[in-house]
Symmetry: C2
């Protein structure tokens, strides 16, 4: 790994100089890192070592870009699943919303319990009750209508513990893994027991995963003509349960290639971890990677495994060592759990929530930057139209042979931010004295540009006049 080599060199230099304490050299390194929210533990190293070896041309472990398939469970792997699968909360909220149209629900379980917010009562109705509730809330409408219902719900619903939108109860370290893998030529897929249509309502925006790369539990559907136009109606019968053995079967149906990397968190992911990683005979030395997110952080999130009713992790944990799967401890391996809250940031726009701006810099090309290219990021005060912009903060990040998007974290001094000023982020990629790429559009942050504009900024740089070919 280039990054490691740089760390080693850096440490050696500093040891020779013997002036700076170790902690001060950690910060700049972490910021150039594709996985800044991960602590420097074996889990992070395992991910980075694996990606490095499969993307290194000429190495025996090299995997062609077309075959770089990574699959991710969703509930408990990409976002939180406690105290109940979020789709369960959606289901209960839908029952409440539809209760007026269904007076009979007052006396029918599990609807009665759902309306009362009694999760135990809902659970007591068993599989049949769950099926009835899913049928009542997930079927009978068109796929387009359902998509709108879910999107509307996500706008207002809040997680009971964190009091933030469910789409913000996603794991920042895993967002970084998704971006890092895509930047390394991987196609990222969701393979989840969650509802296919439910996930499609947010996954593209939240995870950057397009609908054609989402695999989930699905119901039967029916084509109808309504007002002269075709619609697809969701029926109450289950078509495919994307859990346990259903996962490899659906991977085969939808992808048709054995994944190279697999990320899960529960026994529902056991079969796809096996499918991904177990060698096919003694001649199969193809590189494969399995990872389990273990919920060990009772303070910042939840701690559960073998005895949990949601996301039970038992057999897969037993197999992890034998199979060589990386077991992530959220408590020990993750610096942060969730991204900075955009809701809170908008509620109190000043003082600012975080003192850094995060995001990625990319260009629309599929080549790696030249070996010595450097990403140069600036936060500028652009309030005065007739004066040059004032640089509030800047940073240079060595690309180190990494592909775009290159993640960045740009720290700034909040004392320099004035509420009625305007701030832009500018980025360029330079090699020597040549500017290869630079931002052509504006990236307003902090005071303008909406809440959350200071995190997960996706900066596109365009080829500059210095370089060629231009756009």
């Amino acid at each position: 790994m280039n990054t490691r080599r740089i760390v080693v060199t850096f440490v050696a230099l500093l040891a020779a100089a013997a002036v700076l304490p170790l902690v001060s050299l950690r910060a700049p390194i972490a910021a150039d890192d594709p996985l800044p929210s991960w602590n420097e533990t074996a889990s992070k190293q395992a991910i980075m070592d694996f990606v490095a070896k499969v993307t290194k041309e000429g190495s025996s472990d090299f995997v062609k870009p077309a075959e770089r398939i990574a699959v991710f469970d969703n509930d408990g792997t990409l976002w939180c699943e406690q105290p109940l699968y979020f789709q369960g909360f959606f289901c209960i909220d839908r029952v409440k919303a539809l209760a007026r149209q269904h007076p009979e629900w007052k006396d029918t379980e599990p609807f009665k319990s759902a309306i009362a917010g009694d999760l135990k009562g809902v659970g007591a109705a068993g599989a049949k009750g769950l099926h009835d509730m899913l049928a009542a809330t997930h079927a009978g409408m068109t796929t387009d209508e359902f998509n709108t219902i879910v999107k509307d719900w996500l706008k207002t619903a809040r997680h009971p513990k964190y009091n933030r939108p469910y789409t913000e109860c996603i794991y920042q370290p895993m967002l970084e893994v998704l971006a890092y893998l895509r930047a390394s030529g991987f196609k990222t897929f969701i393979v989840s027991g969650g509802g296919l249509d439910f996930m499609r309502a947010f996954a593209e925006e939240v995870y950057g995963i397009p609908p054609e790369q989402i695999i989930g539990t699905s119901g039967k559907t029916q084509l109808e003509m309504r007002d002269g136009a075709p619609v697809i109606v969701k029926l109450p019968e289950l078509s495919s349960l994307d859990d346990k053995e259903g996962k490899p079967l659906n991977i085969e149906l939808h992808i048709g290639r054995r994944p190279v990397m697999c990320f899960g968190n529960s026994d529902g992911d056991l079969q796809m971890l096996q499918w991904t990683t177990i060698p096919r005979g003694s001649a199969d030395h193809s590189p494969r990677f399995g990872l389990i997110v273990r919920h060990t952080d009772v303070e910042r999130e939840y701690a559960y495994d073998r005895d949990s009713h949601v996301g039970k992790l038992d057999k897969a944990l037993d197999e992890a060592e034998q199979r060589g799967w990386t077991v992530v401890s959220m408590k020990d391996d993750w610096k942060t759990i969730f991204p900075a809250s955009t809701a809170q940031a908008s509620a109190n726009s000043a003082p600012l929530q975080s003192h850094s701006i995060t995001g990625t810099v990319a260009y629309r090309v599929r080549i790696a930057p030249p070996p010595h290219a450097v990403v140069h990021i600036k936060l500028e005060d652009v309030s005065q139209a007739d004066a040059p912009a004032t640089v509030i903060a800047e940073k240079r990040i060595a690309t180190d042979g990494r592909q775009v998007p290159i993640p960045f974290t740009l720290e700034y001094d909040p004392a320099k931010i004035i509420a009625n000023h305007r701030y832009n982020v500018r980025a360029s990629i330079v090699s020597g004295d040549k500017t290869l790429f630079t931002t052509a559009q504006q990236y307003p942050v902090l005071t303008v540009g909406g809440p959350g504009g200071d995190r997960d900024l996706r900066i596109i740089v365009e080829q500059s006049g210095d370089g060629a070919p231009g756009r």
Copy 2:
């Protein structure tokens, strides 16, 4: 369209000079064309006009790259389907191959007829008979085993009329459409009634469509552990029939986005043509394109529509005008039907089969070349290691704002080709006197490099020292 503008300019220039006949200016224009195997008819114009308008940034018809989904039927749309679906021939050949292990088939229909090569007898066994034959030939093995079986069959089986591999009974004009759409930012999917696993055995190599973009008829499957490793076993029960209304339902299941373009040839494609193109209410003005390949060429291929037992085209033809679908007449719209035969080319390596080399030039970047960039292609004799290469043929193609891959046809004089010499194709992309990209690896053709090396050459150019950033 830039191309059209150039044609107009060109015509005006020549009219002023009044020296050259019109025919001599057609040739170079056609060669710069993404669809060189299409005649200059309304069908071709409709495809090119549509692609131009949806890829033009700022236009009201602009479609974001992520939403550029094009779906293609396979049988009768991308390859031939007469005198029987090719998978039917596979099925019959498999019955013959397995007959020894099944002595009971001698007296059981439709196996008895299949072994005797009696297609009518097979047909007489009806749906139940067909199911039995499919179950006997498509189930009971693992997906990997089935993939190998199909690949092995494709190596030796020959089409009864053309006496060439089935994978060469593909439509050259449609290969060009696939390449043109992908070069225009489309994701191309197959949505076919054919077997999913059957198509995956060749579609990536033959059409450039990866397995995760293939949707087809599929059977149930089962996960098993064999010798400590998981396998997926194909079961004899049908899971999804990807025909008629099954097509839009599977598009929703696998893609989750309404396609922008849809290509079919039979009533089996009616529902996906409707799903793609019918506006969703009076406010829906989103650009959509439907196309039907009509088999009108009794000499070069087959002529059939309303009364055919294979690829029946009746209702969809009736609806085409009302819906604005382009109906392609293979006889009138297609210059050539199939690609040059690689089998024949290898059988008699000299004299050469065709007098042109075709392919595409691309780089691994996702930006358009600069407006005035020109692709420069050369065919060189590189037999003498110690002397500069001799240029046998060369051509310059204006990129005209098109994205890579840029298709090319490089004509050469076969009299200049010497059997024991070696020939390479070199390509570069230049802008003014700057070489932006150039070939870094060798592309041997004609006498070396294997049969078929003179067609569908996929040249990758690398960023040159002049440009930046390099690799």
